[in-house]
């Protein structure tokens, strides 16, 4: 009897709460909040959420490898029973020149760090689902300012097809277009070799490369391998293309692979791919 009263009371209180986002975490430089692509959770149907960062003009936060300075943005999810939370999907970063000698990888303006949520079939419809993450970042312009906070969102759970959240739907779509896609041999056949001073990435175009490739850039995932400040030399070779990447003076002696994001510029488009190529030599 008592248990029922408590349950009803609890549900009544929850009903009074607004579904949706709690107040964003705000600093002078950055506003961070948890946003969702859907308006409700259907048990068994995966859906997308994101930590949305909005930076004041001129300020940047950083990619998983920040480059020469700064710090990777971190999102740590609280475990919730009944859902599996996937890994963060990072949109392709920008290359940001901080000074004549320093280059960072990060984001300015707005960015969504996406995550897919897999709710179990058995998730209890009728109880809202609350998702919470601890977020930490360093925002830099001329100077750097750290920030952190908790972002949270609550969604109703119902056994019905969710509608796309009209407020954020477009931003989710746009951001998915900025996610690197796995690089297959239909795009390029890649081989990577290393010497004392540089890594050489050879790219033989496959059938999905229809036009002239005009430029390329490799964003390494691992810190300490690449000289971020040095220009990467892109050129045509008989078999296709070659990208020459200078090693960092702090490079691991013999890294096993080149892992990261490859930007490909063609005449009419830019595309980003995720790559992990074993290193020879």
């Amino acid at each position: 009897m008592m248990r029922n009263i408590f349950t009803i009371g609890f549900l009544l209180i929850l009903n009074c709460l607004d579904y949706g986002e709690a107040a964003p975490v705000k600093t002078e430089e950055v506003e961070a909040e948890l946003v969702t692509e859907v308006e409700l959770v259907q048990p068994g149907r995966p859906f997308w959420v994101a930590v949305r960062f909005a930076m004041a003009p001129g300020w940047h936060i950083y990619w998983k490898n920040p480059g020469d300075s700064g710090m990777a943005t971190s999102v740590e999810w609280e475990e919730v029973s009944g859902v599996k939370i996937q890994e963060i999907q990072w949109p392709a970063p920008e290359r940001i020149r901080v000074s004549p000698s320093l280059v960072n990888f990060g984001y300015g303006g707005k960015v969504l760090l996406l995550t897919e949520i897999h709710p179990a079939n058995s998730l209890d419809a009728g109880k809202p689902l609350s998702l919470t993450a601890q977020v930490q970042w360093v925002a830099c312009q001329e100077i750097c300012v750290p920030g952190q906070g908790e972002v949270t969102v609550a969604l109703p759970v119902k056994r019905e097809t969710p509608q796309v959240n009209s407020k954020w739907g477009k931003e989710f779509e746009r951001t998915r277009g900025l996610l690197p896609i796995p690089l297959t041999s239909e795009v390029f056949q890649l081989t990577a070799t290393q010497g004392q001073e540089k890594f050489i990435l050879k790219m033989i175009p496959g059938k999905l490369i229809s036009s002239q490739v005009t430029g390329s850039y490799f964003f390494p995932e691992d810190r300490g391998m690449v000289d971020y400040d040095a220009e990467q030399l892109f050129r045509q070779i008989p078999e296709g293309y070659e990208l020459i990447i200078k090693r960092s003076s702090a490079a691991d002696r013999f890294p096993d692979s080149l892992k990261g994001v490859l930007l490909i510029e063609e005449i009419n488009q830019k595309r980003v791919f995720s790559m992990n190529v074993p290193l020879k030599g």
């Binding site: 000698s101 360093v138 220009e231 960092s248 003076s249």
Partner: protein
């Protein structure tokens, strides 16, 4: 348009030559001379025969604050001073940029932080910083008694601003000094530094 692009690239390559590290571990560390807080020129060569640590700092940088607010940096300075290591805290912030302060104010700040380095050196025109390729604050360099550079890079393996990360971190400076002072080869002579950019 293409010509402009080429010029921009050439300029960037030229600029990057500024700080592309002229120093290499295993090689002699270049001598330098720059003013201490009293305005006296101090040179690396004054301390031949001793271990010397160069620590690039900026009291306003959150990564530096992480190590000073926890006492981590000061402990290192003190512990190794007792073992005869010379510790230079070097500030290469240009006038008008974050971290640059006149000598008397810098002195006060260093006392507020209980900084325990041998000397604080001011390098506002960035000569020493660029000579060594100091990119971040903090950025650490260790020079052995015979003048060879034996370590350069991060202070530890936790590239964050969180003071809680100091405790569990592997401190590269401590490791390198302990190894070298025991007559061993430094096992990790180069790591990637982390921090705020040096404000040249």
């Amino acid at each position: 348009m293409r010509l402009l692009r080429l010029m921009a690239v050439a300029m960037m390559i030229g600029f990057s030559g500024w700080v592309c590290a002229a120093v290499e571990t295993g090689q002699p560390a270049p001598d330098f001379s720059t003013a201490d807080l009293q305005g006296n020129p101090r040179a690396l060569s004054e301390f031949k025969g001793k271990f010397v640590v160069l620590e690039w700092f900026n009291y306003d940088c959150p990564f530096v604050k992480k190590h000073y607010s926890t006492g981590n940096m000061q402990n290192l300075q003190k512990t190794y001073a007792e073992k005869g290591v010379i510790w230079f805290s070097i500030n290469s912030s240009a006038p008008g940029k974050q971290g640059n302060y006149p000598p008397d104010q810098m002195k006060k700040m260093s006392e507020d932080w209980s900084t325990a380095s041998t000397e604080i050196l001011l390098d506002p025109d960035g000569t020493v910083g660029k000579m060594y390729g100091a990119k971040t604050t903090p950025h650490l360099f260790i020079i052995a008694p015979e003048g060879k550079l034996i370590y350069m890079g991060a202070i530890d393996d936790r590239p964050s601003t969180n003071p809680e990360d100091v405790k569990g971190a592997t401190n590269y400076v401590q490791k390198a000094l302990d190894e070298a002072m025991n007559g061993q080869e430094v096992s990790e002579p180069v790591t990637q530094s982390y921090g705020c950019s040096v404000k040249y």
